[in-house]
């Protein structure tokens, strides 16, 4: 296949790569910002004109990578609806924070469709603004003072087969939550709307 993201045009494959990459950096940013893993387990990478922190822990890297590989397939098939990161209190198993990324796909796009016209720079700037907002949320989100773990949920079309290593799960909603909408970004093929809900 030809180049997937030219400077002013984007294909389904290119859009899939960009959105999956955003999810990777987004998940890492949330885990770092919310202190789910110690800061020394993260190293810096330059992306979207920002310095981002990415885990250096082999097991965590493998876990996230496996999730992203699957998400990529579903993004390409346009069957993914949401990606949710739930932060859970380890002792009580209570969900404390729920980061939700709603995905809207242009179902008419195929591998051979004419690329959509949107510049790489514009998409990256929109993604940068979402990541900056994730970073800024620490100023108002409540302190997580109990040891926490995280879970990733993916919502797909109903008729989607559940892959071997995946299982069906409940939504893990937060009772009496406060919600804050973040910015969104669009590749014109996939649109991602972000929000965070947290325990009041």
């Amino acid at each position: 296949m030809a180049a997937t993201v030219q400077s002013n045009a984007i294909t389904l494959k290119g859009s899939t790569e960009m959105v999956a990459e955003f999810f990777g950096y987004g998940i890492n940013s949330i885990l770092y910002q919310r202190g789910i893993y110690p800061p020394e387990n993260f190293k810096r990478e330059q992306k979207y004109g920002l310095t981002l922190l990415v885990t250096d822990d082999e097991k965590l890297k493998e876990y996230i990578s496996n999730v992203l590989t699957q998400v990529k397939d579903w993004l390409f098939e346009k069957t993914v609806k949401k990606l949710v990161i739930v932060i859970i209190n380890i002792d009580t198993h209570e969900p404390l924070e729920r980061w939700q990324f709603d995905v809207e796909c242009d179902k008419t796009m195929t591998e051979t469709s004419k690329p959509k016209e949107k510049s790489l720079k514009d998409i990256q700037n929109e993604i940068r603004d979402v990541i900056r907002q994730i970073t800024a949320t620490v100023t108002f989100l409540p302190l997580l003072d109990a040891p926490c773990a995280f879970d990733i949920l993916i919502y797909t079309d109903k008729d989607q087969d559940v892959p071997e290593k995946w299982e069906e799960s409940g939504p893990q909603f937060i009772a009496n939550s406060q919600e804050v909408r973040l910015r969104s970004f669009s590749t014109l093929i996939h649109k991602v709307n972000a929000m965070v809900a947290y325990k009041n």
Partner: protein, 282 residues
């Protein structure tokens, strides 16, 4: 454009001082003048310094220019924040102006921060503020109440549409002015007799309201109670000029704009992008 932050509680001077500082920090990150929120940027730099020390690098090794800019910004911000905090605890500051742009005459953007409906400072508050103003760590140790107020402020600023509809602002200089009593005893802030609030550029008013049983107090917000004087010649004008007389609870008081002697320079991290991320497990 106005952004309102409303508190249902009475805010004391200590809380107002902390909220002011948090607003300044928030605006600088929000308007793209620093790559991380200030406290994170500072913490990251402290970690880097420890690592540099551990590596025992040669003493005179030149720092990359981006690192120099970052450290200059942190140093300037710390100085500004500490002086703003201390002045705010000691005296009444009627308004704070942040001007984003190369010059103060023609800034690109202007943010005016005012506290409204703050009650009179009690003797106990005054003593508490006096004690806190002598401590640099007063900025770092917060009560649960102050922390709750800061989170509410941050959430309101984060979600306010009028603050979010502006596009990216390139790195620029940030000038800070305070409107305070003409008799303000400060050697750090410089009196600016001829300063006029710029009328050009995009402006935004941030008004922080406290519930003090309807008692209009030290900072009379946007109710137009500031009558202005032109320059230092003592002639009263009715237009919204530079120097004012404020009608507070203690009658009329001469006010004057004072400028912070540091100009914060925004910076961007312009490293080469990581070509192959280590995020994907091979």
């Amino acid at each position: 454009m106005e952004t309102k932050v409303e508190f249902t509680e009475k805010l004391d001077r200590l809380t107002c001082a902390t909220l002011l500082i948090e607003t300044v920090k928030y605006l600088l990150f929000h308007r793209y003048q620093m790559p991380l929120p200030f406290d994170q940027l500072k913490a990251e730099d402290e970690r880097d310094r420890k690592l540099e020390y551990a590596r025992r690098s040669p003493r005179n090794r030149p720092l990359p220019s981006v690192l120099k800019k970052k450290r200059q910004l942190i140093a300037d911000m710390e100085e500004l924040v500490l002086n703003l905090y201390q002045r705010c605890l000691q005296v009444e500051i009627f308004e704070v102006l942040l001007l984003f742009g190369a010059t103060v005459v023609n800034p690109k953007e202007m943010y005016s921060i005012r506290f409204c409906n703050i009650g009179e400072t009690s003797e106990a508050d005054r003593v508490k503020a006096e004690c806190a103003s002598g401590k640099e760590n007063g900025l770092n140790s917060r009560s649960k109440f102050v922390d709750k107020c800061c989170r509410k402020l941050a959430r309101t600023l984060f979600t306010d549409p009028s603050l979010n509809e502006r596009g990216e602002l390139g790195c620029t200089s940030i000038h800070c002015f305070i409107l305070a009593s003409r008799n303000l005893d400060t050697t750090w802030f410089r009196p600016k007799f001829s300063f006029k609030v710029p009328k050009k550029g995009k402006s935004c008013e941030i008004r922080i309201y406290s519930d003090s049983d309807g008692h209009m107090g030290i900072l009379n917000g946007n109710d137009g109670e500031i009558r202005t004087l032109q320059g230092n010649d003592g002639h009263m004008r009715t237009s919204d000029g530079n120097v004012g007389i404020l009608e507070g609870t203690d009658g009329e008081q001469d006010t004057l704009w004072f400028q912070a002697p540091v100009v914060i320079k925004g910076y961007k991290e312009t490293y080469k992008e990581t070509v192959e991320s280590s995020m994907w497990k091979k």
